[in-house]
Symmetry: none
Subunit: 420 residues, 2 copies
DNA sequence: CATATTCGGTCAAAGGTCCC
DNA sequence: AGGGACCTTTGACCGAATAT
């Protein structure tokens, strides 16, 4: 504990690229403090931006500045350095949930070191090399900070009353099996809701218009599937659509119920086993949404940072339940796979002319799709174009990709207006 | 944590201003005493002006420094700490005037403790119990049955010396650009190594033979890509193959270098930013491998549990560095996507008859592939069959899936024998 | 060039261990 | 069932290098 010197400084983090960026990403403090120090957790939300500067984020002792990436006291600073230098490996005699505060910080070194890491300390910052903090900063982009409350509000704004009101076993049998048209109609509704949802996230609205379009397009299929899975959590043998139709596991058209089956098996069941909470779902959706790669994003680093914050919030929302965070993230690969299969099914339906598809569906779900399936998670657009130059067979795709849709752009412009 | 620098360092006679100290004195009834002031006590024992620094002011033994506010020997230091920690209350069997010196200090605890207080020791200086600094460091942290050491051994068994030995900038330019045949050859090698790798995991070998085949098949493409990405970490503009050929970002065939580009952008760069460790890589590979869904597994719960353990080990391997675990898991969706694109490219190559493919490649990479892309992460087999009953167009797929390959089964039988 | 920040290092004084 | 010789860890304070 030091007696002298009060340090006050506003946090501003700028981004360069790649490695620098990642390091910086780790540095950004997340506001809420979950485990310990209930006092600071209460005050941290808005009132005390300086609290994180003057208080050690590990033990809540008085901080002497930022050390190794986290605002900390000299004790935790030295402890972290020694632990890393000497390559110490501690073990917790209890449940790895020891409280680390000023009084008890020496009682469990495992939990203390763990909290150092969780507070943002990086072992790369230790050792002889001096950590050159931002030697160069790019365009001076300011990156907003996602907050769980904003995400929950966004979720609430797209919650559908009818689907929630229907009690489990009673009404479900009364619901009608969806025909292809019903499915498409539901999809369109959900896509509009997705746009609506995104509009509630200021950080999204601050992105360049092209990036907003790209983000919405790229993973729209995954959002449809994720939403359907969430909606169908109480159902065992069917998928509940947003417009109150259902898709049974058998009895619907083959292509449709195959996707429905996979949603049940690979998504609904795991989510039900986990008993996913609203907070977790909100964070998971956001993590899916801000996918930094596989896009032609103008500012991929910003998106990357937003996803980073989203998954930090997700981890927080899991309340440190062992393995829960990992299980939730491991939902994403099958989600992607199922979504991709749905898109393929749509492609097929479109090719066969089985149904009339709305232009919104065409644009958001199939807009980037090609026969070779770059649709769901395509490579970098420039490369795509570069290669397409040499490949006449999909030159039409290029124009589709580079074309910014009127309808989507309009919708997004409205969203942008809402926030600025 | 120090209150003021002066009390402890300069004078131990400041006890009189220390209210706590007075309280402490109350704990032990003080009677008339001949040696009142600690200073006089110290000086009286031996007439040395600096004797207070070298002599224990309690028992006049050799002092080892200041302890708890008084210059003292290790014996009195330890005695005072134990007395305070255990909240001992002693009593004098005589008249509380026992002589406390080096020889007789253990004859009356009451008088010894009282003299500790009189010499200036403060009970506040005794801290809480700390974490054991036990010499036998039992790390190992074996979660369940999978152990990190087994995974590391498995990794080591498939490490390729030539690829690792080649220094970065020197040899890379000398390496030849792979033709399609070279790529296939490398793939085959890597697939065999994958089987070899799996054989090193006892939990894998204990699975039913069909499940082993399924696991190996289902995500073999992802393992190829993951391995290539890891191997290419030091390379900026090319993908390094296992057989020492390279795939440049441009200059190779279009289809090939498109996949190569995505590997670089979506996998190599993030992994390089994270500076993934060997442990983490081993755990990540295992997490990918034990995919419980999207299979026709006999015992999906076992596989699910194995993946659970794998990602717990991964989390442990990240040392709880903030956000690192999440960043690593979020590598998996793009990994899946890139792997799927590679499989599609292979399909295309096969259809166009561009190259002769080994049967192992056909079986492991394309064995489950269909035009609608169930290959990478197919649905449940029973459903697949059920639907196929009604759909003649892919009935041949059913037989392929339900057919247990001879070559793979043989390889795996050998593996099984190794372990039983 | 001054100031603020954050590295690395030092060492008194805490801690713990373990034979006696 | 402590005592105490011996060793490790802690953290307040310091100087140095760097960004501002």
């Amino acid at each position: 504990m030091k007696l002298t010197g009060t340090i006050l400084k506003l946090e501003y983090t700028h981004y360069s690229t790649d490695r620098e960026h990642l390091n910086n990403m780790m540095l950004i403090p997340l506001q809420t403090d979950t485990t310990d120090s209930p006092a600071s957790a209460a005050a941290s939300s808005l009132s005390q931006p300086d609290g994180s500067r003057t208080l050690c984020s590990i033990c809540a002792d008085r901080a002497t500045g930022k050390h190794y990436g986290a605002s900390s006291c000299d004790g935790c600073k030295g402890f972290f350095r020694r632990s890393i230098r000497n390559n110490h490996s501690y073990s917790c005699r209890f449940n790895r949930k020891c409280i680390v505060d000023k009084d008890k910080r020496n009682q469990c070194r495992y939990c203390r070191l763990r909290k150092c890491f969780k507070a943002g300390m990086r072992k790369e910052a230790v050792q002889n090399e001096r950590d050159c903090t931002n030697t160069h900063r790019a365009k001076g982009q300011t990156v907003g900070t996602l907050s769980i409350s904003v995400l929950l509000q966004a979720e609430a704004s797209v919650q559908q009353i009818p689907a929630l009101l229907s009690p489990r076993s009673h009404d479900i049998n009364a619901k009608k099996t969806a025909c292809v048209g019903d499915v498409f109609e539901s999809m369109k509704q959900q896509l509009l809701l997705l746009v609506e949802w995104a509009k509630h996230i200021p950080e999204f609205c601050s992105l360049p218009i092209d990036d907003r379009v790209t983000l919405l397009r790229t993973h729209s299929a995954e959002h449809l599937i994720l939403g359907a899975a969430r909606r169908s959590l109480p159902c065992d043998n069917l998928i509940l659509l947003g417009n109150d139709f259902v898709i049974p596991m058998s009895g619907a058209e083959v292509e449709v119920s195959r996707v429905a089956f996979r949603i049940q098996e690979e998504l609904v069941k795991p989510l039900r086993d986990l008993d996913i909470t609203d907070q977790e779902f909100a964070c998971l959706r956001t993590t899916v949404f801000f996918a930094p790669d596989c896009l032609g994003l103008e500012s991929p680093q910003v998106v990357r940072h937003l996803r980073f914050q989203a998954h930090l919030l997700l981890e927080e929302a899991t309340c440190e339940q062992r393995g829960r965070f990992g299980e939730l993230l491991l939902i994403l690969p099958p989600l992607q796979s199922v979504a991709w299969q749905m898109v393929e099914t749509l492609h097929l339906a479109k090719l066969l002319g089985e149904a009339r598809m709305d232009s919104l569906l065409l644009e958001m779900l199939l807009g980037e799709g090609t026969k070779t399936g770059d649709g769901l998670c395509s490579g970098n657009d420039q490369t795509q174009e570069q290669h397409n130059d040499q490949r006449a067979s999909s030159s039409n795709l290029t124009s589709v990709i580079s074309h910014v849709s009127t309808s989507l752009a309009n919708t997004l412009s409205a969203a942008h207006t809402d926030w600025h």
